[in-house]
């Protein structure tokens, strides 16, 4: 009798909480829908990925890809390329292989399409879980069932998933507004070998490991297959930086060569293509002038 009473009351308690979760998610949607965001006004992809929209070009990768959207750069890119572009690359360290795969899946799941995909490729996401499954890349993403499901599928860390939900109940999330991050006026003053070493140390947080590399190589292959199954032509670009970073790059180039042979995808190494510091706002991010220069000189020939 007492067990029965407990089970009934516990079930009611659980149901009340489920109802409250549902209610709170509905309330969160009201907050999310208060503003409509342009691609350059938020770092969130969930807030800018629409439904059933065809794009000519989709940019993905890390912050090295996101700079093509920030500070209204996307308008400049569209104007130079005469294309309709969406940028779902993840900045702030969230541009690992897994996050890109999850977000690309979400993009397609919403009925969208992309004629061409440019993936700005870095070697460091192949080195550590901390750039992938253990990365808090969902903090600025709205709650979406599809994203959550794929995160479970790709074994995203439990704390990351917990934080995904919890981060939606914070003032930062509820009070956010469209903001265009300015990188126009910022110019790197001098190239500092010390700062470069510091930056590389922050990117390569773990030593190379074959097992880890192969795990992310397999996930990158999934990205290629996913793109091709949705009739998108995918190309990989090593972004222009001043880091002179060769750690692990050979391995990634070898991997991309294999992809080229197997899937016919192209890759381009522009990592040392722009040595002029005036075109950067730090040692590995192009400023607006740099983005325009890169788009005109290197991206335009790739994107037909």
């Amino acid at each position: 009798m007492q067990v029965q009473k407990f089970i009934i009351k516990a079930s009611v308690f659980v149901l009340i909480n489920i109802a409250l979760i549902w209610l709170s998610l509905e309330i969160l949607k009201v907050f999310e829908n208060r503003h409509s965001y342009q691609n350059w006004e938020t770092e969130s992809d969930g807030l800018i990925i629409p439904q059933n929209k065809p794009y000519d070009l989709l940019i993905m990768g890390s912050s090295h890809g996101r700079i093509f959207a920030r500070d209204k750069n996307l308008l400049r890119v569209d104007s130079i390329l005469h294309k309709n572009t969406i940028d779902i690359a993840k900045g702030g360290g969230g541009g690992g292989i897994v996050s890109n795969l999850v977000l690309l899946k979400y993009f397609y799941s919403q009925g969208n399409s992309a004629g061409q995909i440019v993936y700005f490729m870095d070697a460091w996401p192949f080195f550590s879980r901390k750039w992938n499954e253990d990365n808090y890349f969902l903090t600025n993403e709205p709650i979406r069932y599809q994203i959550f499901k794929d995160c479970l599928h790709y074994h995203i860390d439990r704390d990351v998933l917990l934080n995904y939900f919890k981060s939606k109940y914070t003032a930062d999330w509820l009070e956010q507004e469209p903001v265009s991050r300015e990188i126009n006026s910022e110019v790197l003053k001098d190239v500092s070998p010390e700062a470069i070493q510091k930056r590389l140390a922050s990117l390569y947080i773990e030593p190379y490991d074959d097992h880890v590399f192969n795990h992310y190589a397999a996930l990158l292959e999934e990205v290629v297959k996913l793109a091709q199954s949705h009739h998108s032509i995918i190309a990989f670009i090593f972004p222009a930086t001043l880091l002179d970073d060769n750690r692990g790059k050979e391995k990634v180039i070898k991997l991309l060569s294999d992809f080229k042979a197997k899937y016919g995808v192209e890759y381009y190494d522009y990592s040392n293509a722009i040595p002029d510091p005036k075109l950067y706002y730090d040692h590995d991010h192009l400023n607006t002038k740099g983005v325009v220069y890169f788009t005109e000189k290197y991206l335009r020939p790739i994107v037909q």
Binding site: F6, K9, F13, L162, K166, Y169
Partner: protein, 468 residues
């Protein structure tokens, strides 16, 4: 396994359901397996140390009971040497060795051995003390030796209190493993409520305060005045919520299954004197030291100077129990000094008018000052904290509040907890709830759960006392 981890949220209901489903005769087996799984979630092979302690004390217990009077002491000594030996090796070897090496440098003589790269087994001090209380109680004739090896193992390993107490006595716990516990609705829900309250204290208050405290104490040279004062006050509440939160979860989890564990905290920051504080803080450890160490030294039934010495040394040893670092020894010594001074001035203070609020405030300030040594990573850092604490600047408050949102949650949650403590002065909170209308109660439970969900800091931060 951490109580504030997703693993435990699965582990606890599974073990509890199986516990009530199994026949009484098999329940100890389940609890023993569950306790092994719980312990082995850290460093699995360290369970061998626990097994060694269990075997030694099991044999020692029976030997003490069966041996002729003149041999009892020998068996007790063997058991204590073995327990303290393990503790000394894992916890104090490097500390002692490093100090010898330092001494060697001063004397320009090579002293000391190679620094050992060993991790401290989790909760070692807790289960060692619990095991020691068993053999001491048998020696004193207060407890019969346990013949059932499984039940005895469970006494040392019972998972809710295995890694951070309460440090139980055999008279209270051992017989409970033989008793049949049926499902009692009131007891189960009271246990769950206590666990919920414990989670609130841990993840909402302690872990949020930890962010502030870690920032200041992690780099004390960068802060002056108010930020250090706030961090030190916050640490007092952080350590209380961390440890009492753990205790609440442990007591609640045991209660759900029908076990009664001793109380470990009794609203300690409402204490009006240092001696009262130590009767209300970490009660199971304070009473352990009182019963097995202080009284063994002669307690207060000795000449007054010796009595003061007994008191002081008990606190110094208690400080050392907390960690192999001079900061803990100074923390213990400081509290010992407070106790002795309190006794010395008691003829004067007893004649003064009693203003309880003022006494509570003075006690809190003194205790909080001692926490500086407990929290600081070294004596140098503790001194730096104390020096910088008194260097105030005009814009201190602006500097002190790193994050307004976080700061407000910290303050409001501390006030909320202390308000609950105030209400608890006559009756336990869960009993207070039970007398309220159904809707009010449920609103409170759901509200508390949501406060944990929304304002809790997740990331499975370890409990501070796990490392002791």
């Amino acid at each position: 396994m951490l109580f504030n981890s997703i693993q435990f949220l699965i582990f606890f209901p599974v073990v509890t359901i199986l516990y009530f489903l199994l026949p009484h005769a098999l329940r100890w087996v389940l609890l023993l397996i569950a306790s092994c799984v719980f312990y082995m979630a850290y460093i699995p092979y360290y369970i061998l140390i626990l097994a060694f302690t269990i075997c030694v004390d099991y044999v020692a217990g029976i030997s003490i009971e069966m041996a002729p009077a003149h041999w009892k002491k020998t068996f007790l000594a063997l058991s204590l040497i073995s327990n303290i030996g393990i503790l000394a090796f894992f916890k104090y070897f490097n500390f002692l060795n490093d100090n010898l090496v330092e001494l060697g440098h001063l004397l320009e003589q090579p002293i000391g051995l190679k620094h050992l790269s060993i991790l401290l087994p989790i909760g070692l001090s807790f289960h060692t003390f619990q095991a020691m209380s068993y053999t001491i109680e048998i020696y004193r004739g207060n407890q019969k030796a346990e013949r059932h090896f499984g039940i005895f193992s469970l006494y040392v390993m019972f998972y809710p209190q295995l890694v951070a107490g309460p440090i139980e006595r055999p008279q209270n716990l051992l017989h409970q493993f033989r008793e049949k516990h049926s499902f009692d609705y009131g007891r189960v829900t009271d246990g769950l409520k206590l666990m919920l309250w414990g989670f609130f204290k841990k993840v909402v208050i302690a872990d949020r305060l930890a962010n502030y405290v870690d920032q200041v104490y992690g780099n004390p040279s960068a802060y002056h005045g108010l930020p250090i004062v706030i961090a030190t006050i916050f640490f007092a509440f952080q350590i209380y919520c961390d440890f009492s939160g753990y205790t609440d979860i442990a007591i609640g989890a045991a209660q759900v299954m029908g076990f009664h564990l001793m109380d470990n905290f009794n609203r300690p920051y409402f204490s009006a004197s240092i001696s009262e504080f130590w009767r209300r803080w970490h009660i199971s450890l304070s009473s352990w030291f009182r019963d097995y160490f202080y009284i063994s030294l002669g307690g207060n039934r000795v000449p007054v100077p010796r009595w003061y010495f007994n008191l002081f040394i008990t606190f110094v040893v208690s400080g050392l129990w907390h960690g192999a670092n001079w900061t803990f020894i100074i923390w213990g010594a400081l509290n010992g000094l407070y106790m002795v001074i309190e006794l010395l001035i008691s003829p004067v203070t007893s004649k003064l008018p009693k203003i309880k609020v003022l006494n509570i405030l003075i006690t809190f300030i003194l205790i909080d000052f001692s926490w500086i040594f407990f929290r600081a990573s070294s004596i140098q850092n503790a001194v730096l904290v104390i020096q910088n604490m008194f260097q105030f600047s005009g814009d201190g408050l602006r500097w002190a509040i790193f994050d307004k949102y976080d700061f407000c949650i910290c303050i409001v949650s501390i006030l909320f907890m202390e308000w609950v403590h105030y209400l608890e002065r006559h009756n336990k909170m869960r009993h207070f709830f039970n007398d309220r209308p159904f809707v009010f109660r449920w609103m409170m439970y759901v509200g508390l759960l949501w406060l944990i969900w929304v304002y809790g800091v997740f990331g499975a931060r370890e409990f501070i006392y796990f490392t002791f």
